[in-house]
Amino acid sequence: MTNVLIAGVGGQGALFAGRVLGRAAIQAGCDVKISEVHGMSQRGGSVETVVRFDREKVHSPLIDKGGADFILALELLEAYRSIGYLKNGGWLIASTQRIDPMPVITGVASYPADIVEKLTKTGARVKALDALSLAIESGGAKMANVVLIGVLAGALAGDLAIAKEDWLTALRQAVPEKLLAMNLKAFELGHNWRENLGEIQTI
């Protein structure tokens, strides 16, 4: 069973990233469950989606704390918030984008400093990248989600691997025709980033 939690801020496309991952896993012959959150929390609030896939039947759409093999975080504070879900030995891949939540904007709270360092100190395996810049390089800031999917796709190897063609099929199914080229480029930039991450064969 592979459990991936995608964390972000409402509007960043966490749910869309989850769907692409789910479709790719189905292409690879897995049973899949995805949990999404719609409605009120999508309005700029914290958004988490969980994708679970396995060769065997997947029962629950949600995971325990400490149950995620991978966390993909679209925003640093959300990476920090979600760390409790990471499995011992799991990987957290975070975009360095910062979006201030309202308590920070109004001065009631402050945005934690040095989140990547703090996360690394927990002993978790943490990789941070500027997915926003890679997304803008692909044609739009909205595609940071697809960059992170590319990173995951590039890193999964061995038993965890999903063939690249399965990822591309998933993207073609999920993305409207006119935005496809941009999204494929964002995926490719993420995929190439694996040189910084190495191959992950087991958790």
Binding site: R19, I26, K33, S41, S60, L62, D64, I99, P101
Partner: protein
């Protein structure tokens, strides 16, 4: 054929494949995607509409079912409260075509006002209810529900909860049923509810409930597995959590899966037989638990040991009686019940960090509601602000702090009247969104005019039903599947007799404030129509701060609560990726440091 579907999409496919002819509903999380999906996938054979409210939607579906068509109505759980009047009566009248009422529950709650349990509503209304655990079951049970409804001639509830509605799975789709054309409406006294008819039908209804319970004991989606003296009963998504917990703990025990009501008594008796203890895992109310207790009361002594089967659950404090279940909470309850050590928890060092600021949902950057609230706040800060249901409920957050009450759809207008009767010296505003206005706001305004109350109604018209993702309503000129002449909110207010109506573009801050100032000293029912489209629907050039002109006064940040506007290195800063170009910050900056796109 398999398809990756959200539970709500699965219900839409289930209804289409079961030959639904008419489907209506009102948007509400977590139910909204059912009708939206039907609108995308049907081949023209289904009549679909967003109705003005859930009561109307159910009555439309009832009419269709009277004429012999298969009909469906969708809503969130609190929508069923609005539709409860036709619901209660309809079950005494019955239907000809299958009628499935989908009411989506929201444990948590994640996006709702209540944690009510629709299974109780089914018991109250004496109706059958189907309760799927997965998107796969949601698909199959939709067809089962139509067949069941037609077989008994009664409307049937389908109650998916959030984690079914908004979970995705690879669903195996069956071949669509060939359903014959509806017979049409046949005049008959059975369609006219009268006390005598109600009494006669009540007798039949009680008999049907017994037959339904018997049939549900044989229904393949209700089942008992495993053995032993310890048993777990579960329904909904909690059943998946139980399976997962047993798998992780590496154990098995006797299991009862409950997927439909009236409660499958015979099956539950078979489950209880030979048990010493039973643990019930369910969300919202202890419905399964109370049914098991009832069975123990009537048949218990003959079932287990001399002391009977001990039933553990919400009523005994073994599971939480509020909020949604999680794999963790279920795992802990199951381990404790089976006297096992809980699965090893994660290392302490990965616990949730202590200094994470909350990220509550907020009004989007560029949202016109922010501008409307700001205009009223600046012109009438010491008034009382009654809010309502929609994105604009988020106006309660600081720094706007513009929602003093919020109860249910349409209640802002009437709660304001009640407040005003007690404190007539205060000014009372009632904010209402455009879709809520049509849903249930109008009668409250008529009441205010009729009873001559002094209130100010502020209609926040963003030309969509925004919170649920942007559905059309009667004021938009669009329907679920096409177009229709828009109904003018201002003309409705005029017709009701509201004499002082001002219109303002909330994004023109000076004009918006002037509109508020104009109606403030008047008496009677006054209305301000703030009209500006939802920021999610339009693209405008974005704004930027001229750092040299910015004096770091922080007025923009302190007043607006805009997610795109923050202080960076002591200067105001606009995040390009978030700004929607409303221009409100540019209008309130005292130093003219914020301007159109650079």
């Amino acid at each position: 054929m398999k398809k990756l579907l959200m539970g709500n999409e699965a219900i839409a496919y289930g209804a289409l494949h079961a030959g639904v002819r008419v489907a209506a509903g009102y948007p509400g999380t977590p139910s909204t995607e059912i009708l939206e999906t039907l609108a995308k996938i049907h081949d023209g054979s289904v009549y679909l509409e967003w109705s003005v409210n859930e009561k109307s939607a159910l009555e439309i579906a009832a009419g269709a079912a009277y004429a012999g068509a298969r009909a469906m109505v969708t809503m969130k759980q609190v929508g069923l409260n609005v539709a409860s009047d036709p619901l209660m009566s309809l079950n005494y009248v019955g239907v000809k075509g299958g009628l499935v009422i989908v009411a989506a529950d929201d444990p948590g709650p994640i996006s709702s006002q209540t944690e009510q349990d629709t299974r109780h509503f089914a018991q109250f209304a004496k109706m059958a209810l189907f309760d799927p655990s997965t998107p796969e079951e949601a698909y199959a049970m939709t067809a089962d529900a139509f067949a069941f409804s037609e077989k008994y001639g009664q409307p049937v509830l389908l109650r998916p909860a959030t984690r079914v509605c908004h979970s995705r799975a690879d669903v195996e789709l069956a071949a669509p049923l060939r359903v014959s054309a509806p017979e049409g409406f046949v005049k008959d006294p059975r369609w006219v509810i009268f006390p005598r008819l109600t009494f006669a039908n009540h007798i039949r209804l009680e008999q049907k409930l017994v037959e339904m319970s018997e049939e549900f004991s044989r229904y393949p989606k209700n089942y008992v597995t495993g053995g032993g003296t310890l048993g777990i009963a579960a329904g909904g998504v909690s059943y998946a959590y139980v399976n997962e917990a047993l798998q992780n703990l590496g154990v098995s025990c006797k299991l009862l899966k409950v997927s439909s009501y009236p409660f499958p008594r015979d099956l539950a008796l078979a489950f209880l037989d030979g048990l010493e203890e039973a643990l019930v895992i369910e969300e919202l109310d202890p419905v399964i638990e109370m049914e098991l207790l009832r069975l123990m009361g009537s048949a218990g002594q003959s079932l287990g040991r001399s002391s009977g089967v001990k039933i553990k659950g919400k009523l005994t404090g073994h599971t939480a009686n509020a909020g949604e279940n999680s794999p963790e909470s279920v795992s802990a309850a199951v381990a404790s019940f089976l006297k096992l050590n809980a699965a090893p928890s994660q290392p302490e060092r990965l616990a949730r960090p202590p200094d994470v600021p909350a990220r509550p949902p907020i009004l989007c950057a560029g949202c016109p509601h922010r501008a409307s609230f700001l205009a009223v706040k600046e012109a009438a800060d010491n008034a009382v602000f009654c809010g309502d249901i929609g994105c604009y409920t988020l106006g309660n957050a600081k720094p706007l702090d513009m929602v003093d009450t919020c109860l249910c759809m349409g209640a802002g207008i009437t709660v304001a009247q009640g407040l005003h009767r007690v404190e007539p010296h205060k000014t009372h505003f009632a904010f209402i969104g455009d879709s809520t206005f049509f849903h249930s706001g109008i009668p409250g305004i008529i009441n205010a005019v009729y009873n001559q109350t002094d209130i100010i109604v502020a209609v926040l018209d963003n030309a969509t039903t925004a919170m649920t993702g942007g559905q059309p309503h009667p004021g938009t000129g669009k329907t679920l599947t096409g177009s229709s002449p828009p109904i003018d909110i201002g003309k409705i207010l005029e017709a009701i007799g509201v004499t002082d109506i001002v219109r303002a573009d909330p994004l023109d801050h000076a004009a918006a404030k002037a509109a508020v100032t104009k109606v403030l000293p008047l008496t009677g029912v006054r209305a301000i129509l703030f009209a500006s489209p939802c920021a999610a629907k339009i693209k405008k050039p974005i704004y930027a701060v001229d750092a040299e002109k910015c004096r770091s006064c922080e007025i923009c940040v302190a007043k607006l609560g805009c997610p795109a506007l923050t202080m960076q290195n002591g200067k105001a800063d606009i995040q390009r990726a978030l700004c929607a170009g409303c221009g409100l910050c540019g209008q309130i900056c005292p130093f003219h440091a914020i301007g159109g796109a650079l």
